[in-house]
């Protein structure tokens, strides 16, 4: 049976608790200059409760969550498929690699002005941004993973009777999984960062938009509540993919 690691849990929680305590004490003792713009931690928690009870936070959070889920899922699936095609087919690789090399370095938010003109400001715009944000990195990591598989293992599978499709499904893809998961893990957090930025700039609903409204009303407590939701979501999404990666590849990776 796996032993519960108390020390790890304590060291995970303790620094955060100390930070929050310091925050609370420093604000209450008026030790931060201009603390009009710096609410105490307890004030932020009170605001969190008010926003939750009123439904404002949940409504905006769900809008952001649905955008991230649709955009990230669609972008990852598309990235995975194109990555597999490019990694497994030399002609596809030669044809699309130069285009990928040019498009991959463009940050997702760089596409925002073009997409605003093409798609207009609506529900499809943030989903398209998240799609792009997820598509290229997942594609790139899948491609790298597939092309990095030891060619000799492919030869072994061939001599054992595996045709191209079986090879792909039973050797190449499983061995590319660690790379694919790295792409998914990084982009799961990135999707949240990008959606907040997109909502702040161009979309009137969602957590990002709520932050911008709070900024115009000088409501620092609401802004911090939104930032905390963002931090928790980035962290949770990344941890989910770390868990999935361990589940699918942990048994055989050293």
């Amino acid at each position: 049976m796996k032993k519960f690691n108390y020390s790890r849990v304590i060291w995970g929680i303790l620094p955060v608790a100390v930070f929050l305590l310091l925050w609370e004490v420093l604000v209450r003792l008026d030790l931060i200059p201009g603390n009009f713009f710096f609410p105490s931690f307890s004030e932020v928690i009170r605001q969190f409760y008010r926003l939750t009870v009123s439904g404002i936070l949940l409504e905006n959070f769900l809008k952001s969550l649905i955008r991230v889920l649709i955009g990230f899922t669609a972008g990852s699936i598309a990235g995975l498929l194109v990555g597999v095609l490019m990694g497994w087919n030399q002609l596809m690789h030669r044809s699309f690699q130069p285009i990928l090399s040019l498009l991959y370095p463009i940050p997702a938010l760089g596409w925002l002005p073009i997409l605003m003109l093409w798609l207009g400001i609506g529900e499809i715009l943030p989903i398209a941004i998240i799609f792009i944000c997820s598509f290229f990195p997942v594609l790139y990591n899948t491609l790298t993973g597939i092309r990095g598989v030891d060619k000799n293992l492919i030869k072994v599978a061939q001599t054992l009777g595996a045709g191209r499709m079986r090879l792909l499904a039973t050797v190449v893809l499983p061995l590319a999984l660690p790379n694919i998961f790295t792409g998914l893990r990084l982009e799961a957090g990135m999707a949240w960062r990008v959606i907040i930025a997109a909502e702040m700039v161009a979309i009137p609903t969602g957590i990002g938009a709520l932050m911008m409204k709070a900024e115009s009303l000088l409501r620092m407590d609401i802004i911090i509540v939104c930032l905390m939701v963002l931090a928790v979501m980035c962290f949770s999404f990344e941890r989910l993919f770390i868990y999935l990666e361990r589940k699918f590849t942990g048994k055989w990776r050293i």
Binding site: D150, N152, L153, K155, V156, A157, Q158, T159, L160, G161, A162, G163, R166, T170, V171, P174, L175, L177, T249, K251, W252, R253, I254
Partner: protein, 347 residues
Amino acid sequence: MPSIELKNISNFVCRDINLKVENRELLVLLGPIGAGKTTLLNIIAGLIDYEGSVLFDGAKVDSTPAHERKVGYLFQNLLLFPHLNVESNIAYGLIARKVPPEERRKRIKQLLGFLGLESISHRYPANLSGGEKQRVALARALAPSPNIMLLDEPFSNLDYKTNKYLRMEIRRIQKELKITTIYVTHDQLEAEEMADRIAVIHEGGLEQVGLAEEIFFNPRSEAVSDFIGKPNILQCDSYRILGGGLVEVGCGGVSIVVPHHGNQVKKIAIFPKDIYVSVDAPPGPDLNRFRAVITDIITSGSLIKLKLELGENTLTSELPRDIFESLGLKSGMEVFLILKFRWIRVC
């Protein structure tokens, strides 16, 4: 099981190779590192491009892709699938060749037992020792009951004892299952122990094919002679069985004790590295110890070659430069020789 025939095989490494491996035969492909041994196996398995023809049982297989050639290939590196456990590694070829589940389970169980892998069947390759990995790789290659086995220096990374044990296992399995086999090695002793016949390959060309005695006693080219270490070949004019697996032979006025395998000894081969040279009389029984005269000293890189007059024979011995210098050897000097009788080859 089929014979393997190679006709005018050439590619970026191999040069016009013609070779026939008979049905059920174990042919050892012997040659130095970089000679083209692995390339030739890859050609037979259909893994790389080539010109010429490969025939299995007289039928051309050049247009048959690798996954349909039904060749078992044991690679030199430990190429187990890291994401599959021992059992799944062995099952891979059976699933790929669509063996029914019931038969598959029986075959896996049989191979796990045969190679002593039952207790580790659920382990992943990362948690296996070198010897275990090799046995799993062997089981995986044998699982789909291949018609042909290709073994590429499969045990070269293992210690001598495990290497020898697994080689003997391979020989036993090959004879039992009657699989036509090509075994690649650069080790002469390994080749001699394993082979029905030996094919010597050098710089992509086939230099000589024959029985071990033919290779060692009648090397057909300078390349073969060089590779096997330019043995001193002595003609034997008399022969007396001593018992205990030994025989005393007379070669050019000198009596030498050599291993006896039951047949009359006509020639013996002594490798230059297997002749000890000493200035003082060596201790121990007076067996294969002789006085000889140095007639010539040849420097060859870090090695020194001595030409020695022993009875009516001229032998070549070689020793490292530092030992040569410490002994203070000179041309015309009388020295003592010890011939390591276990390393003398007989024909």
